[in-house]
Point group: C2
Chain length 406, copies 2
């Protein structure tokens, strides 16, 4: 597997474009399009929020019933809590995009992210579809423009791509994602589009995705708020020319490994670009009794507001980490827990044998001053482990969210 | 039932004191004592965090096995994650207090709140016990000094008291509480001591308390972090002279009503004094299918970081409230939800029929600028309701928790 410099157009047969269609007041790009030269097998995972945005309801049905050839995404308005009118907008978007691109309207997916509530002005969507369909290109600049067009409070766009091998055939996978606030996926809390030229049957594509998401996007949190719009879509157009993957085995594993690498990288990018944050905060839980225990414990720590504020303050307030493990709902013996912190500046034992280790606050603070900080927890209850990613809680998180709409 | 101006000494036969024993660097009061002239039936609810502070482990056993006559509380150090040494400190505290006060050591409870991790210097506890036992008084100033001695990041102390009637006998109930951060009770996430002169059997006292806590302390949250030290203790010494309550009925109901009033008032005081907050944020959920649904929905809204930041910004970002209802885990039809906001400045419909109501942002912002703001949610799924209390998320919350220990 080889890392590539690229995004959604890294795989053969995919084109993309990003532009300003007018959903935002400033002139930032706010609309993106992905197009595959041939119809794709598609899979998706979506928010488990009861309040689902119109595009989530729409795409959930579409990926399970049709081959997919295009995706139209806008940022600025979420098309969530918009009633029947919101679903009509999805339908009209697919009709116009299908007609403009010369494909069936059933093969178009839609995505939206931004403020919950307002209706999307359809004339802007129509304008954007016309504009973008004339700009589609397979170069990496176009992929970057698309990635740039879907971000909201993100401080940078998020893309990645890999090359991998199936039976001597070179395959590719590229992706873009957005997300910075309202990030607490149980399904993903963001938008993410993954494009691969692998040939794979739809049920296996979905199975790989559903599995990979558990240890990647479902293990991150910025603020504990699960979005109404989360969508993670994978498109596979088969342009690489591999023998279509139709069963589990080495080919399936090779694809899944690449999908995992892409999802992991983007998930960590999302957590590390959490609204207002200054550090990516990772928690590795080892020695848990079950895999589910390990996941729940790791998530509980990265979701703790008090722990996150302490990370911002570079304060080794390990009591908050113990406390968050304790209220996670998982049963364990606190006296058996060992807790370390680590970063590029070193590794330090903070807690062992039921009470504080003898450590230097100065060294601890130095370790916590890095941009990528890890809490390593050893439960000593079993052999399962899991890792979760979040970020620190800062003044800027409050600032961004106290006047997001103004 | 009549509201009184007082605290833990409002009921007959109770004395209190508060003083500076040296757990804090500044000269703030940091140690309190409550004493009853006669042994009390006692009940308690405690944190459900797996990581329990030593005094929680100690008191949990004590309230279920002994009559109680005194409580010794320190602030500044939580005596949590302190291993066997922490439990030894509890034992020694009870021994010294019992000897000093001339009562059995089994009838003493201990409480601690503050930083997790450090061991409590026992010489300071010993000094404080001697000092406080000489200061005990039944006047309301002493109650206030005790209430003042147990606060940490609270901006003010919390006390309340009521007079109520059982079979023509006047009874009293008085209480003090502390809590501002790490507030997400499932048991209470704070310290609260309630003293009544009612005569009531221990099992009924516990039953009343366990019931009342569900709709009071268990319905508040400041930051989603459940503490290691939460303790809510009720002492009843029978000094009022009522016929001892030994079964459910009008006398039990009269006491429970007074206990509810005390717990509700203090719970709301805790939420309204959340770390760094500028407003008490109440969420009333009506028309839920079950009582548990109503509680879960109301809690989900007041725990949403994004909603809390919007309240701080006086921004009627109702989509975040819908979103928080949606990820609560309760199943419902979003199109049936009606959402209002209200405060002393008015009441306004924000969301109905699956989309935004036609409202004035200016009026909405005015309503949200008050110190006590309510979100009223009508689920239209059934007849159950519940109310939860939280606060806004502010720069100061981050500030307080980024350098709590410094």
């Amino acid at each position: 597997m080889k890392k590539l410099d690229g995004g959604v157009t890294a795989a053969k047969g995919f084109k993309a474009a990003g532009a300003h269609a007018g959903f935002r007041k400033n002139d930032r790009k706010d609309m993106a399009m992905i197009f595959s030269e041939s119809p794709c097998d598609a899979a998706g995972v979506f928010t488990s929020n009861v309040v689902k945005a119109a595009p989530v309801i729409w795409d959930k049905k579409a990926v399970s019933t049709s081959k997919i050839q295009a995706v139209v995404v806008n940022s600025g308005i979420a098309n969530a809590c918009t009633g029947d009118e919101g679903l009509k907008i999805c339908k009209k978007t697919c009709e116009v995009a299908g007609k403009t691109l010369g494909i069936s309207s059933e093969s178009v997916l839609v995505g939206s992210t931004g403020v919950i509530g307002p209706q999307i002005p359809f004339n802007k969507l129509e304008y954007g579809i016309n504009l973008l369909s004339g700009m589609l290109s397979s170069n990496k600049e176009s992929a970057s423009e698309a990635a740039n067009a879907i971000i909201t409070t993100d401080t940078h766009s998020k893309e990645t791509a890999y090359e991998f091998n199936i039976d001597g055939i070179t395959c590719h996978i590229g992706a873009m994602a957005k997300g910075s606030g309202m990030i607490h996926p149980n399904m993903c809390t963001m938008l993410c589009y993954v494009c691969s030229d692998v040939a794979i049957e739809r049920n296996l594509l979905q199975s790989a995705l559903s599995d990979v998401v558990k240890d990647t996007f479902n293990m991150i949190s910025v603020d504990g708020d699960m979005s109404t719009n989360d969508s993670l879509i994978v498109l596979a157009n088969g342009a690489a020319g591999n023998k279509k993957i139709s069963a589990e085995g080495p080919a399936f594993d090779a694809f899944k490994e690449a999908l995992y690498a892409v999802c992991l990288e983007l998930a960590k990018m999302l957590a590390g670009d959490g609204e207002g944050c200054t550090a990516l905060f990772e928690t590795k839980v080892n020695g848990a009794a079950t895999k589910e225990d390990a996941r729940v414990l790791a998530k509980s720590v990265i979701c703790s507001s008090l722990t996150k504020a302490a990370i911002f303050g570079h304060d080794a307030n390990w009591g908050r980490i113990l406390c968050a493990l304790g209220y996670s709902g998982v049963s364990f013996d606190p006296d058996k827990v060992d807790l370390y912190i680590k970063s590029d500046a070193g590794r330090l034992l903070l807690f062992t044998n039921g009470s504080a280790a003898n450590y230097s606050e100065e060294i601890a603070s130095k370790i916590l001053s890095e941009k990528y900080v890890t809490a390593e927890v050893f439960m000593n209850e079993g052999n399962e482990s899991a890792t979760a990613w979040g970020c620190d809680l800062t003044y800027d998180y409050v600032k961004i969210n106290a006047d997001y709409r103004s």
